[in-house]
Structure formats: C-alpha cells, structure tokens
C-alpha cells in the first residue's frame, strides 16, 4: 500500500512542477515525471510479492509459473506507453527550442501574445 502512496506522491510532484514553475524546461520535466509515474502505477498493478519475472524457460512447470509470476499484461501496455511518452517529449523539446528562437526567453509568463 505504501508503494501506491509513494507513486501518487510522484504524480503530485510532477503536477506541482507543471503548474508552479515558470521555466519551460521545468514544465516539460513535470510532464515527463507525471508520465513515468503513471507507467509505474500500471506496473505496480501487476506486482506480486516475491514473484518471478514472467519469462517461461524450458525447465519450468506451467502451473508454478502461473502461481508465482508477476502479471505480464501491464508490462506490455507500459512498453507502448513509454514509446508514446518519448514521442511527446521529443515534440515538446523541439517546440521549446523554436519558442526560444521566436520570443527570446524561456519564461512562460512573458510568452503571452494571445490573450482574451
């Protein structure tokens, strides 16, 4: 239970960085921390105390494998999610560099030409 609580604390740290900090790169890091926190949550769902990795080797009985392995489905979901997070992060960083070229600053409070 403490693992889930700490994971939630990680999510809140990411949310804090996204909302409170003014520097663009710190906001991007906040989003990255949040995405990793959610991936960790998905893996924690399949966790089993003193379980083995879900790899079937030649000398393993199927019944003991089912009873002792951790859940492999969330791990497959998380692989896809990490790749998606990578794509989003790359796009965010490229856009931050372009924003610096146009506005000359990394401070989000000054990048406010559109208002209303």
């Amino acid at each position: 239970m403490t693992l889930y609580f700490l994971n939630f604390v990680l999510l809140i740290i990411g949310l804090y960085a996204l909302v409170v900090k003014r520097h663009i790169v710190k906001k991007i890091l906040g989003v990255a921390i949040m995405e990793y926190a959610v991936n960790l949550f998905l893996i924690l769902l399949g966790f089993r105390k003193s379980g083995i990795a879900p790899i079937l080797t030649e000398d393993m009985d199927l019944r003991t494998f089912i009873h002792t392995a951790v859940d492999p489905l969330p791990q497959a979901l998380v692989l896809t999610s990490i790749v998606i997070g990578l794509g989003t992060l790359a796009l965010m960083v490229a856009m931050a560099i372009r924003l610096y070229e146009r506005y000359g600053t990394f401070d989000m409070d000054e990048i406010k030409r559109l208002r209303g």
């Binding site: 959610v38 949550f41 769902l45 998606i84 372009r98 924003l99 030409r113 559109l114």
Partner: protein, 494 residues
C-alpha cells in the same frame, strides 16, 4: 467482410509513409494527389460496409478478451461517415491552400496520421487500443497546429501540447484503475464484469470515472478544461482548424465519453449531472466570451465550445430523445462549423486579415463565399429551415420532457445569444460598408470554394430532409448507445 475494418487505419498510415519516401523525389504533386486518392478509397470502403450490421474483426486471430478487437456498430459507422467526409473535403481545400507554405510534404503526412488515429479511435473495441490511437491523433494534431512556425502559432501549439499530454496522463491512469478492478482492458469484457459482479458503487470505478471525465473532457473542450481551445483553433492554418473543430474534438472527446460511459462503465445519475453541469457552463462561457472577440476564428472557437456544451447536455440528460438530438447536433456542427472555418480561411487568404473591425462589405466582391457564410451562420444560429434549428429543437424538447425546466430555459437563451453574435459577424464582414482593404479582392479558387458549396448544400438538405436522416442514420446509432447488453453480446458472442 470484416477484413475491411483494419484498412481504415492501415491505408492512411501506409499512404503517409509512402508520401514520405516518394515525396523526396516529387515534392509538388505526389503528396496531394495520393492523399486525395487515399481519402477517396476510404469513402469507397465505407460505402461498401455501410449498414451491414455489427462487424467484429479479431486482430491476429486471437479471440476476445485475449486479443484486440475492432468493432463496427451503428455508432461507429455514423462517426466514420463524419470523419471521412470532412477529411475528404479538407484535402480538397488544402490542395490549393497549402501552396503558400513551401514544404507541404509533412503537412499531408501528419494529416493522414491524424486521420488514421481518428478512424482507429472510432473502430476499436479495447480501452488501451483507444488510448494508443488517441495519442496518434493527438500528437499529429499538436504538430499540425504549429505548422507555420510563427510566434503565435507556436505558443498556441505549446499550450495545447502541454494540456493534451496532461489529459493523456489522466486517461491512462483511469485505464489502469479499470484494469485493477476488472482484470481486463477489453471494453465488452469490462462491461460484462461490472454488470455480473454489480460493481457500480466501487470506489476504484468512481475514481476512474472522475479521471475519464477530466481527460476526455479536456480533449472535447468542455469548460473548465477549455483553455487551449481558442488559441489552438484560431492560430492553426484554416484546414487544420476545420479538422480540429469539426471532427477532432468530437471524436476524441464526445465519442470517447459516450463509448466509455454508455458502453463500458455504465451511466449513473452522478455522471449525468456532471455532464449537464459542464454542458451548461460551456454553453454560457462560450456564448459570452464569443461576443468580445475581434478575431473571426477566435469567435468561431468559442462558438465551438458553446455547441459542445449543447451536445454534452444532450448526452447528460440521457433519454433516447436527448441522445438523438445530441447526435444530430454533432453531425450538424461538423457540417456548419467546417463551412465557417473554410470561409474564414478563404477570407484571410484573399484579404490578408481576419479581424472583424477591419473587414466589411464582402458580398459584392466574393459572392459565393458570402452566400456560403450566410448559410453557415444561419444554420448554427438555429434558424429554420436549416439543420441547426431541428437539432437544437430536439435537445430543448428533450430537456423539457425530462423535467429540466431551468435547463430548457438556458438552452433557449443560449440559442438567442448564438444568433446575436453570428448576426454581428455577418454585419461586420459580409454586409455593411465596403472596407478599404477589400478593394482588390477576387473570388477564391475553385478547389477552395467546392467544399464550402458542398457543405452549404448539406446544411440546407439536412434541414429539409431531417426526418429521413434521423430515421436512417441517427436512430440506429442511438439504439446502440442505450442498449449496453446488445453491445456486450455482439462482441463476446454470447
């Protein structure tokens, strides 16, 4: 015939990559022609599988709930019609519009990826697959909003990007919560599990409900998650504004909400009340903020927020009549909002500005554009005999007949507010004294006028033949929404 279902996503992705490879040799003509052919072929496949009942396609031969299934039921085919027709018209429009950007190879690649993602969201029967396709469409749209890299477009795109990533994080969290309770991510399997074990008051499902409302509500542009919408829709190039406001917020937001809440988790009175509240606030905020705008596209964006509020109210009320009204309004809004954004692109192309205070008297110089824009404004304001009147009438009648009298009054008030600010738009742009900057404008090229004319004719015909449309297209979709058990049994084959 179900082998045609994966082609809706496979063909656009294949075309996008082919455009990237061959476009290195022929930058000018190949991307545009090939995208047009792709969209045409998708419309052809849709005509083949139209109204053939519910089709299930198991990817890779694995049966549900072990494998990913693609499901085409009546609601999916309704959304596919909207997405593919608007995409086809947008490609025709951007055939000529994108010439002013020199390098439009990547535009068509990203556009086809966005189309593939939206088709995938509509056709999938698996929650995590929904998330993956939603991300494909979203990332493509983030890059497309900032396509011409001016300062304002980049700022709008960055804001949209950060908020969209936040929404995706919440949606994934919600999917994890559902997995922790039910042990599966297949939509029909989750629904069966919840019904069999009577889990409607489970705390984890309640948290998943909240997370989904935040995540999908942000993608739909409902208040209080609307902050990205005015900037993104007004700063994007005109074809992208059409796709964003006409289809993306409907498919990724409203369709996903309907699918998750009506077919998977099951609707509860709490969720209905939340939808109605968010819908009402969206309607009012969109209507009031739309008054003070000088930029034409920003006004249209706030109007989109307002109309999404109408649809959310219709879904929240939940009676069959309300859902019919909501779906019809979804179809109509795709029609007239796309028309209005197309016309704004034409006006900006010809006159160089889109501020209401600088324009005036366009009806002499650009007659076809003016006529189409007038039809669009009358339709969205709800003037008979155009289509907006009928869909708003159905939602108002449903609100009164379900006992929500205050709600019905607010709906009528918002209709009048919408009429008033669209009349202001018409007076400032089309009618009135000719402004000084429009001395040398001519009518727009043919390929940019054709989609507007098609949509204007659609608005007129959908208003006149509304009962035919409702009986043949909308009511089958609505019957899937209100019958959760039919969905479960047709997917799991029980």
């Amino acid at each position: 015939m179900s082998y045609l279902l994966p082609l809706f996503t496979a063909i656009p992705i294949f075309s996008a990559i082919l455009i990237l490879i061959i476009g290195k040799f022929d930058k000018k003509n190949f991307p545009r022609i090939w995208s047009l052919l792709t969209s045409l072929s998708l419309l052809f496949i849709l005509a083949v599988i139209w109204d053939k009942g519910t089709m299930i396609h198991e990817m890779g031969g694995w049966k549900p709930p072990f494998g990913v299934v693609l499901v085409k039921d009546n609601l999916s085919q309704f959304m596919l019609l909207i997405v593919n027709v608007v995409a086809f018209l947008t490609i025709i429009y951007s055939y000529v519009y994108m010439i002013k950007f020199e390098d439009y190879l990547r535009f068509f690649t990203l556009f086809l990826f966005m189309l593939a993602g939206m088709n995938g969201v509509v056709l999938t029967g698996d929650l995590f697959n929904l998330f993956v396709f939603l991300e494909i469409a979203s990332i493509a749209s983030y890059a497309l909003v900032g396509y011409g890299v001016d300062a304002e477009e980049l700022e709008a795109s960055f804001k949209y990007l950060i908020l969209g990533a936040l929404a995706s994080v919440f949606i994934l969290f919600g999917i994890g919560m559902i997995y922790s309770v039910t042990g599966s991510v297949n939509m029909a399997d989750v629904a069966r599990f919840i019904i069999v074990n009577n889990l409607s008051k489970n705390n984890a499902l309640l948290m998943a409900t909240g997370l989904f409302i935040v995540g999908f509500g942000l993608k739909a542009g409902l208040v209080p998650f609307h902050a990205w919408l005015p900037d993104a829709h007004s700063s994007a190039p005109a074809p992208i504004s059409v796709m964003l406001s006409g289809v993306l917020i409907k498919v990724l937001g409203i369709y996903a909400l309907i699918r998750v809440f009506y077919s998977v988790i099951g609707i509860t009175p709490v969720v209905s009340n939340v939808f109605i509240t968010m819908g009402v606030i969206s309607m009012l905020v969109g209507a009031f903020m739309g008054f003070g705008q000088d930029d034409m596209k920003r006004m249209f964006a706030f109007s989109s927020i307002s109309q999404m509020g109408y649809i959310a109210v219709g879904i929240g009320i939940g009676t069959p009549l309300a859902i019919i009204g909501a779906l019809f309004h979804l179809l109509n809004h795709a029609g007239f909002k796309s028309l209005l954004f197309f016309s704004s692109g034409v006006i900006q192309n010809s006159t160089g500005t889109r501020n209401l205070s600088e324009l005036g008297g366009l009806r002499e110089k650009m007659p076809v554009t003016s006529a189409a824009s007038v039809i669009g404004s009358l339709s969205i304001a709800g003037v008979p005999p155009f289509n907006g009147f009928w869909s708003k009438l159905i939602i108002i009648l449903a609100a009164f007949s379900a006992g929500y009298f205050w709600l019905g009054g607010i709906l009528v008030l918002t209709a009048f507010l919408t009429l008033s600010y669209y009349l202001r738009f018409q007076k400032n742009v089309i009618f009135g004294e000719p402004a000084s900057i429009i001395k040398n404008v001519r009518e727009a090229p043919f390929m940019m006028i054709l989609p507007m004319v098609v949509l204007a004719v659609f608005c007129l015909l959908a208003g006149i033949f509304n009962s035919w449309i409702i009986n043949n297209i909308i009511i089958p979709a609505q019957s899937i929404i209100t019958n959760q058990l039919v969905y479960i049994s047709s997917v799991l084959g029980m």
